[in-house]
């Protein structure tokens, strides 16, 4: 993980039950990307997909948060202790 600016509070989250670190203020996409997690869902035909546009128009970054599928990772801030799963 590399950031040119390490300011900001460190937080932890889990993705598919594995623990990772991120910074407060990251979107879920940024948090996953900074941890080299490139796959967040599979299509209907089971093809793996990852974030693409980071601005809310491609709908590739979908994840499952708080039991709800279809959450756009680029439009949600990560919170300390957040549990994220691959979108179903």
């Amino acid at each position: 993980m590399s950031r040119f600016n390490e300011d900001g509070k460190n937080i932890s989250f889990t993705f598919n039950d594995v623990s990772y670190k991120a910074k407060e203020g990251d979107s879920i996409t940024s948090a996953l990307f900074s941890n080299e997690i490139l796959i967040n869902r599979k299509t209907y035909n089971k093809t793996p997909r990852g974030s693409f546009c980071c601005m809310g128009v491609c709908f590739e970054c979908l994840v499952k948060v708080d039991g709800i599928n279809g959450v756009q990772a680029c439009k949600r801030k990560i919170i300390d202790g957040m549990e994220i799963y691959e979108d179903e």
């Binding site: 209907y44 709800i68 599928n69 279809g70 179903e88």
Partner: protein, 372 residues
């Protein structure tokens, strides 16, 4: 010398392509099918996608019997289309429901179904009533507000888009001349030949003319001084996300296509040609659907659209032949009736008239002095 077609069908939707395909199977005459623009009113692509029996023909035995005939043909028809075109039209005859929310609705529905059941020729066609427990055996995620249902095992669904694609492909393969972006503006008859002209001036001639142009049938027929009393009826469809770990049996309110997409429907509005999405209709459809399937609440609506059904003045259908050469077909059940259109109706058109068993649907019933 300009070419004179043997048959020209105006309308390249489900009805038009069913008839063109059927005709091309029966003969090697010159057939053309003209279709207007990509953005015209197209009932075919606004279709909910059911091959449906149980709600059809209340107090209308002929309609019920025609539907019955068609439903029994559907499985073989789907097989034929798929084998010949290589396109999967995703037809499944799973059985389907109409949900009732209280005893009163249930009793009314039972009365209707019992009456329609008396019209059918086969015992096997009957629609049965199921109490809540029986409904839940087939529809496990049922909401608690559902009292019971009517169920018919012959009801089913398919992909209207794939059916249209397959029929058009088959038409082309069987040498039907498909002329797109051809918006018919005038029709006249001269010396037993129909001469049609498009908005951009292209002229086509034909001996036999079939009007299968949806709502445009009215204005086209008028040019030949034939009155076709049809009008638009709006319906809304809501498309929700795909759900992979669920398989829902269809109803008019909710159905699931083969790829998992959930569709919500069941609305009728009298709005002329206005296609705007109406908030209160959308809410009503959603509230109704959520009562039937509460898990919908957490799903996403992806898009909505509305489309116009073709409704004859008395709500039935129109099948008529005038002067042994002008054939008019206007129906809002083009999907359900596709097997009959492809077989019975096409064969009959070739012999210069509509099938005898469709006489009840001729235009004569609208003439003054004729009792309904």
């Amino acid at each position: 010398m300009e070419k004179i077609y043997d048959f020209l069908i105006i309308g390249g939707g489900i009805t038009g392509s069913s008839l063109a395909y059927g005709l091309s199977k029966e003969c090697s005459l010159d057939i053309a099918m003209v279709d207007a623009y990509d953005h015209t009113y197209r009932a075919s692509v606004g279709n909910y996608g059911l091959a449906w029996l149980q709600s059809k023909g209340y107090k209308n035995p002929f309609y019920a019997q025609m539907t019955e005939r068609s439903i029994y043909l559907w499985k073989d028809f789907a097989k034929e289309i798929e084998e010949k075109s290589g396109i999967d039209i995703e037809y499944e005859q799973t059985g389907g429901f109409h949900f009732c929310f209280n005893k009163e609705d249930f009793d009314i529905r039972k009365e209707k179904m019992d009456l329609i059941n008396t019209y059918y020729k086969h015992e096997n066609t009957k629609t049965i009533m199921l109490d809540r427990k029986e409904t839940m055996e087939l529809y496990p995620h049922l909401g608690e507000e559902v009292f019971g249902s009517s169920y018919n095992k012959l009801d089913g669904y398919l992909s209207p888009g794939q059916l249209l694609k397959a029929q058009i492909k088959l038409c082309k393969e069987q040498n039907v001349n498909l002329i797109s972006n051809y918006c018919t503006s005038t029709i006249k008859k001269e010396n037993n030949v129909y001469i049609i002209k498009s908005e951009d001036g292209r002229i086509l001639k034909t001996k036999q003319l079939v009007l299968a142009a949806g709502l445009s049938n009215k204005k086209l027929a008028k040019q030949l001084e034939v009155d076709v009393p049809i009008s638009p009826e709006k319906g809304h469809i809501l498309v929700c996300q795909k759900v992979s770990n669920l398989k829902l049996l269809p109803s008019l309110d909710i159905r699931q296509s083969q790829d998992g997409t959930i569709l919500l429907g069941h609305s009728n509005e009298d709005r002329g040609y206005d296609l705007s999405i109406e908030e209160d209709v959308v809410q009503r459809i959603i509230n109704n659907a959520v009562k039937i399937l509460p898990m919908l609440k957490d799903m996403n609506l992806i898009r909505s659209w509305s489309s116009l059904r073709i409704i004859p003045k008395d709500g039935k259908a129109i099948y008529d032949t005038i002067d042994n050469s002008l054939h008019v077909v206007s129906t809002h059940s083009a999907i359900t009736f596709a097997p009959i259109h492809v077989n019975e109706v096409s064969k009959s058109i070739l012999s210069g008239k509509m099938p005898d068993n469709l006489q009840d649907f001729s235009l004569k019933r609208f003439e003054k002095g004729v009792s309904q």
